[in-house]
Assembly symmetry: C2
Homo-oligomer: 185 residues x 2
Amino acid sequence: MKPVQHDMPAPLLQVEEDFIALWRGMSSLWGISPTMAEIHGLLFITGAALSMDDIMARLRISRGNVSMNLSKLVEWGLVKRVHKRGDRREYYESLTDVWEMFTLVAAQRKRREIDPIVTTLRQCRERLSPESLGAEASRPEAEAQRRRVQDLLSFLTLVDSLAQRFFESQRGLRTAVDLLAQEKE
Amino acid sequence: MKPVQHDMPAPLLQVEEDFIALWRGMSSLWGISPTMAEIHGLLFITGAALSMDDIMARLRISRGNVSMNLSKLVEWGLVKRVHKRGDRREYYESLTDVWEMFTLVAAQRKRREIDPIVTTLRQCRERLSPESLGAEASRPEAEAQRRRVQDLLSFLTLVDSLAQRFFESQRGLRTAVDLLAQEKE
DNA sequence: GATAACTTTCAGGTCTTCCTGAAGAGGATG
DNA sequence: CATCCTCTTCAGGAAGACCTGAAAGTTATC
């Protein structure tokens, strides 16, 4: 992989390489494409605003590939477009605040996983209710199935609300800390 | 999909179908194969111990496919082998306790995602330390990169330990509740 | 208005994952 | 010991995800 900056110490470049490879390795577990993960990894670990040419050169991938995957990262809010005056090229940079970043990841995960599951489970529960099933609702199999659906639903809504409270509370805490830091200046 | 029990009310079968389809849909987000998700979904929602033939028939997939994916589910601990006396076939059933199930899922996620990331980030941090870099360590780029790595590391170790405490506390809580319930009987 | 610079979209190719159907392995039965 | 039952493993094919390289689109410059 061709480095962007030739004067960068080798260890820093190696760390970048390792991080990008790590992120790419996680892509299949995160339900995203390898390239999407690589681009994000590159932008996060360098902390720089890079153009599409920069990303192409560094990751050795085609312009089309960069374009499609960058668009997704921007859509997720993990990457922002940055304009440099006098330069027609778009530059892209990652969020640097880890909390903000993972808040977005959690929101995306909720959108893609939790919400569809909860929606379908509620529909299933509805279909298994006495109102829907009538007398059959008291059959042991129906009761057992309803309980399984309900257990799963309860668990997921609990985890979901805890996660939301977690991110909300961290945000509040960090805002307070930031304000205190500013007052001391 | 051919039902296992012909006398089951249609709504129950429909709920099973919907749940299995939901689980399959989540497979790419969970980094598992569609079949692995389907089998787990089938075993969980039916609550029954099914043989490989049962699973093959219900999901309309090959024996080899069932075998490979069932093995993985057993390895994860999400599915258990059940022996029925006088029957040579192996039967498989899902964990029914949602907490236990997700504790295992969390453990698997830790093993596949968190641990490798933390390991690599620690190595990166080590490589960026003054002990490794010498005078170059005080370069602004090196300090910035070290901070990014450290921020990510801090965040992930916090989330990891909170998740572990969460599952541990729930386990303790539920054990206490179960004991109380038994004493009342 | 033509040209250039830059990004997006597309059609087709590549590669990886996943599955099938058959062979192989192991163990029970007669 | 042969046969059968059941599960595992394998080689190859299928399907889908992903990528490329080029065409198309957009906008700025001259």
